[in-house]
């Protein structure tokens, strides 16, 4: 009846997951009860859960990403603590548990924290920057989000029902085959990543269509803001790379469920093929994350330097260059498999060529600051922190791309330090900069600066204290994923690294304090003008938060910096901008399709993990029924009358009179 699911699945013998799982469940129930008691459920349902508004979906993505960032960070704290303790000892985590912790940490951080954060910011910002009212497929966007949430839910479910993979964040066979991983951990991994991967793929389709086919009139390709270019490059990578992930994980699934022989040790299976396939996705995945991050830095540095981006076309070229070359480098993840001098050299050189694109970007940001008037706001600090950190992180990356150096450093703690160096310094800093930068646009008030800057300095210091020692132990020969060790020379460095985590915790606390303090003081920090930073692109041309339709009248773009250009012209003509002609607007209706899909996807995923076949059929039938019901609806849109549009926009125009940066003149 319940497949493999029995009471044995609950880890009664392991207090740590049991207690933490119980705490999470209680907290979630508490929030739910609170929401119901306050009567907020209808509001949540109408405005958020069933919303197809790209702004709301973006915010929900970011919220999911932040929650998962905390979960992954707790895993990180556990790992650093374990390695600090486990010298000539077992530490406090047995291998069975420690292996799940580092696997979950990697999976969650890359796929359920970084991806939702980056996609969330893309969701919120791209349509606004393009000057349009929504993405190409709003309901599909909601489906994407809810499928990602399903994946995150399944990963976290494994904490208390069953176990998570003990194979690392990429389940290399033969270790991940049924023979060597008979538990449900790998199955949880497969279905969670597969379901959320479909969501990500749909996002990629949605945003490529949006960016290529739905820009405001006059916005030619070379007038798109840099963030849109990087989002486009990232989504093109998603389109080309995520299907590879889907196919690869499907093959592993067939091996595990139906006894196929793609990657098994028996009957001619070829495990090395998995390495090739998974990294053909995995390496572009890194650029899927980091290209939008580069876009965020471009926006932030340009705005706070009070200058357009230096070398815009060069920047576009470098972005597309990285986009293409990132598909020609995957083999550097296994130089030590012995592919031979020619192959290794070609892939090593291809990998280091990517540094040309990144280097160009670095210099362009540098010259954007040159001749600027730099305001050291929190987002700008994150960007400067990134520029100084990422350049050395990139250097260690190129070092690992040199095959003979990689022969010494492959899979070592040096590698661990390297990719945290670029992902924390590149992506996490960018996301925090982006959240601070666009927060006023999303919620109508700025974030408090003092706690934001405190968070930055703690994070920067904590980052170095945590990860520089890991470079050192890597040079001392320490490999990654060790649950215990007996080499005395490693110990002091691992202790320092654990101390660094404490500094990072302080940073995380400052960040949370910043959000709380800003919320409490939101009236003082209110942004009524829609343009708190003297912005340059179109998202600042509308109210904060923007009305549901974003722009009452689609803006006519005449310059690469659409809004800056408008402000300049308005100043020159002394503010004689006349009221535009308003028309009634059609906007997509809310739809529970995404949420219902996620509900059935969760059922299907859970049923497959535990081999509950009848439940899987119920889920599949439900999913098909959802599809038909959605396809059957007759009125996909609702109309906002012209008077309503005019009323909302007039209020915005009046508020703009107060604007400090010349927008008042419009």
């Amino acid at each position: 009846m319940l497949g493999k699911l029995t009471w044995d699945a609950i880890p009664f013998d392991q207090p740590i997951p049991l207690i933490s799982g119980a705490v999470v469940i209680l907290a979630a129930l508490g929030v739910l009860v609170w929401v119901i008691a306050k009567g907020w459920l209808p509001y949540l349902w109408k405005e958020w859960i069933t919303s197809v508004d790209h702004k709301h979906i973006g915010i929900m993505y970011v919220l999911l990403g932040l929650l998962m960032l905390v979960r992954g960070f707790i895993d990180a704290i556990m790992m650093r603590a374990q390695q600090a303790l486990a010298f000539h000892a077992q530490g406090y985590l047995p291998p069975e548990h420690y292996d799940q912790v580092f696997s979950a940490h990697g999976t969650i951080m890359v796929l359920f924290a970084a991806m939702p954060l980056v996609i969330g910011i893309m969701n919120f910002v791209v349509p606004l920057q393009l000057g349009v009212r929504d993405v190409a497929f709003p309901t599909l966007n909601s489906v994407s989000f809810w499928l990602t949430a399903t994946g995150a839910l399944l990963v976290n479910m494994s904490l208390i029902v069953g176990e998570f993979a003990r194979t690392g964040w990429l389940p290399y066979p033969p270790l991940s085959e049924l023979r060597y991983s008979p538990g449900v951990g790998v199955d949880y991994y497969l279905w969670a990543v597969q379901i959320s991967g479909v969501g990500t793929l749909l996002t990629g389709i949605n945003f490529v269509t949006t960016i290529l086919k739905m820009r405001a009139p006059g916005m030619t390709y070379f007038r798109m803001p840099m963030f849109c270019w990087t989002a486009l490059a990232s989504c093109l990578l998603i389109l080309a790379a995520f299907p590879v992930l889907t196919a690869t994980l499907a093959m592993l699934t067939l091996d595990r469920y139906l006894g196929f022989h793609f990657f098994t040790n028996e009957a001619g299976g070829n495990a090395m093929m998995f390495m090739n396939l998974i990294w053909a996705w995995g390496h572009p995945e890194v650029y899927i994350l980091v290209l939008p991050a580069f876009g965020i830095y471009s926006e932030v540095i340009s705005t706070f330097s009070g200058k357009p981006l230096f070398g815009y076309r060069s920047m576009v070229a470098a972005t597309l260059f990285i986009c293409i070359v990132s598909f020609c480098v995957w083999l550097h993840h296994f130089f030590t498999m012995g592919a031979g001098g020619d192959v290794n050299a070609v892939f090593g050189i291809a990998t280091s060529i990517i540094a040309v694109g990144t280097g160009v970007k670095m210099y362009n940001w540098l010259f954007t600051m040159y001749g600027g008037r730099i305001r050291f706001t929190t987002p700008m600090l994150w960007s400067l922190g990134f520029m100084t950190t990422f350049i050395t992180g990139g250097m260690t990356g190129v070092l690992l791309a040199v095959p003979p150096a990689d022969f010494l450093l492959h899979n070592s703690m040096f590698l661990v330090a390297h990719f945290h160096h670029v992902i924390v310094g590149g992506v996490v800093f960018a996301v925090l900069a982006g959240i601070t930068y666009w927060w006023p646009k999303a919620f109508g008030y700025r974030l408090e600066e003092f706690w934001g800057k405190a968070a930055f300095w703690f994070a920067l210091a904590g980052f170095y204290v945590t990860f520089v020692p890991l470079y050192v132990v890597g040079i001392l020969g320490m490999t990654r994923r060790l649950q215990h060790y007996d080499v005395a020379e490693w110990r002091p460095w691992l202790m320092i690294s654990a101390a660094g985590i404490l500094v990072l915790i302080a940073g995380a606390i400052c960040q949370m304090v910043q959000l709380s303090v800003s919320f409490l003081r939101r009236n003082e920090l209110r942004d009524t003008t829609g343009d708190p930073w003297d912005g340059r692109s179109l998202e600042w041309a509308t109210a904060s938060p923007p009305p549901v339709f974003n722009f009452a009248v689609l803006p006519q773009v005449q310059d690469a910096e659409a809004f800056w250009d408008v402000k300049r012209r308005a100043r020159e003509m002394h503010g004689s901008g006349s009221e535009p002609h308003y028309e009634a607007l059609e906007m997509p209706r809310n739809s529970p399709t995404g949420f219902v899909c996620a509900f059935f996807a969760t059922i299907i995923g859970f049923a497959l993990v535990w081999h509950i076949w009848w439940l899987m059929i119920v889920g599949l039938v439900g999913a098909y029924a959802t599809f038909v019901v959605f396809a059957w609806r007759d009125v996909p849109e609702y109309v906002i009358p012209a008077e309503e549009v005019a009323r909302l926009d007039r209020a915005n125009r009046i508020a703009r009179q107060e604007a400090p940066y010349g927008a008042s003149a419009i």
Binding site: N206, P217, R223, A267, Q556
Partner: protein
């Protein structure tokens, strides 16, 4: 960008830029029509699906010789059987094309008839494929026999699953034409369906050539 700026009169800050290409959905022409957006998005989806098939093709090629003592490609393929399958699928695409013409002419009867023919031929294809698979299973040459058979069953089976999903979609499509007539949104969905159906043809042509034709020659 500054060239446009200098020639413009400053009286209207929202004036349309004079770019070379002002068609909707191109260059500076503003958002494209819904039909273009839907078709384009679905086309991107098909591209991503092609990447999935590309992975399966690559895997099949890598594993083609890993027979683990089991049968080789030329031992199990029956080209006559496959030729009939191919004919069914290609013919069904022809009827799908007829349906497209019928939609353009808004002829309900012709649409239903053409779609039924498309569906029946698709179903025949699936049944033929199922019979091929069943015969292999019965001989003990299922996908668990060797890595080669694993790759074969997955590649061809994945195409079969696509065709089956296409048949479900086709049924829904017929019901929608019947119940809702020729609304623009139904027309857009049919555009996607016909692209999907022709895409399955293209993939099948690749399977037919690279798996069956090459396989029997090896």
């Amino acid at each position: 960008m500054s060239a446009a700026g200098t020639t413009i009169t400053i009286s209207d800050p929202y004036r349309l830029a004079r770019g070379p290409n002002l068609a909707r959905g191109h260059g500076g022409g503003g958002p494209a029509t819904k039909r273009v957006i839907v078709g384009y998005g679905f086309w991107l989806f098909l591209l991503s699906d092609i990447v999935i098939f590309a992975c399966l093709f690559a895997t099949y090629t890598v594993l083609a010789n890993a027979t683990a003592g089991g049968p080789r490609a030329r031992d199990i393929f029956d080209l006559n059987h496959v030729a009939i399958e191919t004919a069914c699928l290609l013919a069904s695409s022809f009827f799908c094309g007829l349906a497209t013409i019928a939609v353009a002419r808004r002829n309900q009867i012709l649409i239903q008839a053409a779609l039924i023919a498309t569906g029946l031929l698709g179903l025949a294809f699936i049944l033929l494929e199922a019979s091929e698979f069943a015969a292999l299973y019965a001989r003990g040459d299922g996908p668990t026999r060797s890595a080669f058979l694993t790759g074969f069953f997955t590649l061809v089976g994945c195409h079969g699953v696509h065709v089956t999903a296409g048949l479900l979609w086709l049924g829904t499509m017929m019901a929608q034409f019947f119940a809702k007539g020729f609304r623009p949104d139904i027309g857009r969905r049919f555009l996607c369906f016909s692209m999907f159906w022709h895409f399955l043809d293209i993939v099948w042509v690749a399977i037919f050539s690279l798996v069956y034709l090459v396989g029997t020659r090896l």
